[in-house]
Amino acid sequence: MIDIKLIEECRKGNLNNFRKLVELSSPLAFSVAFRMLGDEDQAKDIVQETMITIWQKLRKIRSVEVYRTWIYRIVMNKCYDHLRRRKRNPEFVADEKTWKLISDSICENPSKELENSEIARIINLLSERLSPKQKAVFVLSDIEQMSHDEISAITGMSKPLIKSNLHHARKSISEMVEKFL
């Protein structure tokens, strides 16, 4: 559990406590980074970079809530950079295997946990047509189940913009689902 005492100790430069903070924070950062990028190695790199940024700017953190928002914000900014560097595929290619995987998952055993590689394939397929902002709002709102206030604090987007991006993301994904599933 991340608490303010742990953060305070890290602010004093205690590396052992920071190791603990990395251990507790990494899964949070990894979850969002992985869902944003759909790539395990890249997500791990993002986590590493995020933790280093946190170490450098930890003295600005005053509460656990701020820390949580802050870590997500750093992850999202680094994911944006990664996504901007990626070339977007203008022509969508229907991936039959992944659609089959989705179909099996929702029909046979919806509560079964998928492996990282399977999650990556599904997310990459669904978010193929989305812009980085739409993808961010989709991941944070619909998968991570965050409120619009939280998303606004993390991404810096206004609520109307969040709603608009979310609408476009849902529409795009729903169209694909209706078409291929």
Partner: protein, 183 residues
């Protein structure tokens, strides 16, 4: 009209993705790499934000903290300005002392004596380190001393040649020596 939000398949896929949390197999590698990279980064010798944090870290309200920082900066600036003004005044005053001394003329013997007395006074007047005497002033001083010596010699000759004056002179000497003993 079928609302996109209500799409059953869409919601089912979302449920699958929500249930399936990405698993970070081991945080140890990340920990190691992060600690390694942190250790490599050298801390800057002077970090302004660190100094501000150590001074005003106890203030949690943003605007209060900013106001305190601004007030402190203002006070420091006023202090530096005052120190500057004081130093300027000290320099001005010390220059004035030297100027006054330069203005002194050795037109009379009394003035020479007065100046010599100034030099003799311990911890008063001018300290030996701060005295600045020009060559002209030294020459004037020596001339004056020679003049005094000559006049003294002439006076002594006159006294020796005149018995009345000699008597008066001897009496005065005796009187002076008595006065000194009394003291």
């Amino acid at each position: 009209m079928t609302m996109i939000m209500e799409s059953e398949k869409y919601n089912k896929i979302l449920n699958v993705l929500r249930v399936s949390k990405p698993v970070l197999d081991s945080t140890e590698d990340i920990e190691k790499e992060v600690i390694k990279r942190i250790s490599k980064v050298k801390k800057p010798i002077f970090n302004l934000s660190e100094v501000i944090d150590s001074l005003f870290g106890w203030v949690y309200i943003g605007w209060v903290r900013r106001t305190l920082i601004s007030a402190s900066v203002l006070l420091v600036m006023i202090f530096i300005y005052q120190q500057g003004v004081m130093l300027k005044q000290i320099n001005f005053l010390s220059r004035q002392i030297i100027d006054n001394r330069e203005e002194m003329r050795f037109s009379t013997e009394q003035q020479v004596e007065k100046l010599l007395m100034e030099y003799k006074k311990p911890r008063r007047g001018f300290s030996s380190r701060s005295i600045t005497i020009s060559e002209k002033q030294i020459k004037e001083l020596l001339d004056s001393v020679n003049d005094v010596k000559t006049k003294y010699k002439d006076l002594m000759d006159i006294i020796q040649n005149n018995p009345e004056l000699k008597k008066l002179y001897d009496d005065k000497l005796i009187e002076n020596s008595r006065t000194k003993i009394k003291l």
